[in-house]
Subunit: 345 residues, 2 copies
Amino acid sequence: MNVSGHKGRQSILFDNNPIVTGWASVAGKMEGEGPLGRYYDVISDSPEYGGKNWEEAESRMQMTAVRKAVEKTDISMKDIEYIVAGDLLGQLIASSFGIKSFNIPVFGVYGACSTMGESLSIASILISGGFAENVVAVTSSHYATAEKQFRFPVSYGNQRPQSATTTVTGSGAVVLSVDKPGRINRKPHVCVKGITTGMIMDYGITDANNMGAAMAPAACNVIENNLNDFGINACEYDRIITGDLGSVGSRALLDMLHLKGINISDKHMDCGSIIYDNKKQDVHSGGSGCGCSAITLCGYIMNQMLSGEWRKVLFIPTGALLSPVSSHEGNTIPGIAHGIVLERV
Amino acid sequence: MNVSGHKGRQSILFDNNPIVTGWASVAGKMEGEGPLGRYYDVISDSPEYGGKNWEEAESRMQMTAVRKAVEKTDISMKDIEYIVAGDLLGQLIASSFGIKSFNIPVFGVYGACSTMGESLSIASILISGGFAENVVAVTSSHYATAEKQFRFPVSYGNQRPQSATTTVTGSGAVVLSVDKPGRINRKPHVCVKGITTGMIMDYGITDANNMGAAMAPAACNVIENNLNDFGINACEYDRIITGDLGSVGSRALLDMLHLKGINISDKHMDCGSIIYDNKKQDVHSGGSGCGCSAITLCGYIMNQMLSGEWRKVLFIPTGALLSPVSSHEGNTIPGIAHGIVLERV
């Protein structure tokens, strides 16, 4: 293959690395009470977050996350050329209603819980390709909107098996910008070195209460091809961070990689497994949802990278491509994952 | 603004024009019986299109459209580096299940019925930016899956007002490729000169049976900014083609543009208004859905451009950003549109 900036079947190594100039996380109350609570910019004290209903709450979280992320940059909202946004809800209503007032060109994206990876990928392509100087990538999820959408009315209080995860309430937004002299006053900063775009992987899982297992093959594919495409070993990374495999899916991922001769057990971390205190908060297999990886990135991960703990991270939000209709029709749950190579420079 | 290949607030003029190397349309039976029937590659003889249910039918239509589009090129499926795909259904299940077997990296996109414009935009950016040589943009809709998703069970046979449109059954796929010597054996061909990316426009429409009115402001915004960004007059285009405004939305669009001093009445065409024989086929305000603009592009429009009837076309799929949840909660229906400048060279 002989394309500028492109390397390998699924990956792009950028010539011009987009840099993270702003980031912000808005978290729900329960997420704020979790072990990563001190890293969030805003913690909501109610599920409505000042809105009339849960969907409006989720939209308002996206709006706040975008505003806060842009506030951290040296530019203003009018300098943002595109917003790449998505969420879990049918027809992406959390995003549409959350960002419509900004009057900025929009690309709506859907990769289930991998959406933060997809929005960061497209934002990076826009910047590295020279099509924009500043792009926002944003996503969200909300426990109550997701339960209502995918499972049962929350008021039923239905029981779920231990393999089920808990949808994270929150929104994360990142401002990616073109790197130019004088742009970053504050050193060090984090940039996007490359991306590994996921294929849809379907291993025939049909249990909507075990989405970790449905997504593990997609994460495995992205990790394997990221290492192959860039010709590197897993030891290149300080952390390989999946989105929301939870405890069940994480075990499946490590087993699948082991069969391919890849060992990441000493550097794997899963946002869904660390976002709650699994013993005290009764979240079963962990956290999930677009917001899970998004607020972990825009809180804990950015903190660890900027503080010097980690230099290079492979960030892989993971998604389960199901809908209530596809599940009711007996379909499988295909998975997808999108890898982002983040580096502190 | 000083970004390579970028021109104006909402538009990109590409330095390297992606070229259309393959295209295909799969249409439903009723669409096949319409005035554009002879331009479709495949016409399904049943709503199931060989599947077990309507959702599977829609997925199979996407799969066929992608296969047929790639068959028309001088490359094979393994040369396709990305698929940019979307549809109207919650969590994009028509796309996920339609394209999962191709084992190609995927970007899922959602812009309601404007999705063909968004997928072509992102595919063009990937190619013009040097990130890929061959990308497929595909979308679909299906009358029965959309009615079930957004309105009432089809078997109710409920009455709709004359301002309502009929969701088109069909899928259109385009292969965009990098232009290099010897690539196109067949002259003339069609290329993407530029794009104008839509903002979300909300004029407060709440009537889900009048989506034309909800989308007209978004189409108006794209047309106005396309002309401003490129510094051209509407007479530059042989046709300005909206996606699915229908008769009601088209009138609103022409009126809104008239107030801005822009007259496109002699060159405006709306896919939704020409896809059916509105007198004989009882479709009320016309056709709609992602498939409406997609199969019109991949049938009639490509034919008119390649045969020399039209040289330059502004193609603007239009979308209404509503969901059953947002409508039931009394929300407005924001609109979005994505403009693609197509030129025969």
